[in-house]
């Protein structure tokens, strides 16, 4: 994780199922300032395509993501 962006906020969505990780991400994003980065941690198996699609549609860039066992981490910047 050394070269991953430093998040301004971490959102723990582990254990939550679709659509809650995306709903919580959308709400958390509204509280961020432009260019701030949120780290989302999720275990829903559909999270990689879901967060990618969310990022594409909302215009908030997905800077990086990694899979660590069952946990997926996403670094997303507020546009």
């Amino acid at each position: 994780m050394g070269d991953m962006p430093t998040p301004d906020r971490t959102l723990d969505a582990k254990g939550l199922l679709c659509p809650m990780p995306i709903v919580k991400l959308a709400k958390a994003m509204k509280e961020l300032e432009a260019s701030q980065v949120i780290l989302l941690e999720a275990t829903d198996p559909g999270s990689v395509p879901d967060v990618t699609a969310w990022s594409k549609n909302t215009g908030n860039p997905l800077l990086a993501h990694e899979t660590d066992g069952k946990v997926m981490r996403f670094w997303i910047q507020k546009s």
């Binding site: 679709c18 659509p19 995306i22 959308a26 709400k27 699609a53 969310w54 909302t58």
Partner: protein
């Protein structure tokens, strides 16, 4: 902003069909999509006051969640709920029988929304 319109025809007789359009619409709202659900045919029975609290969306292990949870998430995310009078008449319902947050429209308004939407998705 993109627009999606869901059409929900499932009612209290098919609980397994009740939640999916609602949580897909919630997800769309989270994607900054302007989204509405038009409850027609049996759909309005889900919106009768007191029904969704006890209607359990089934799960294989018997630990389903009440539909009300999905409805509240959707309304909280700004999903618009629509019904029309004929589908209320079908079930002997009036607008006063329905939960708060449901808007009455007619067929012309529905067709207009469908023409204005980027996609219409029917359940």
């Amino acid at each position: 902003m993109s627009r999606l319109l869901y059409v929900h025809t499932g009612g209290v007789g098919t609980p397994e069909r009740s939640a999916t359009p609602i949580y897909l619409a919630t997800t769309a709202a989270a994607m900054d999509v302007e989204v509405g659900i038009y409850f027609t045919v049996n759909g309005p029975t889900l919106l009768k006051k007191g029904v969704a609290e006890s209607l359990i969306v089934p799960k294989y292990d018997g630990h389903g969640a009440p539909l009300r949870r999905f409805i509240d998430q959707a309304l909280d995310m700004g999903v618009k709920f629509y019904v029309c009078q004929p589908s209320l008449d079908l079930h002997g319902l009036t607008q006063e029988d329905l939960i708060d947050g449901v808007q009455m429209i007619g067929g012309a308004a529905f067709n207009d929304m469908a023409l204005e939407a980027d996609q219409v998705i029917c359940f």
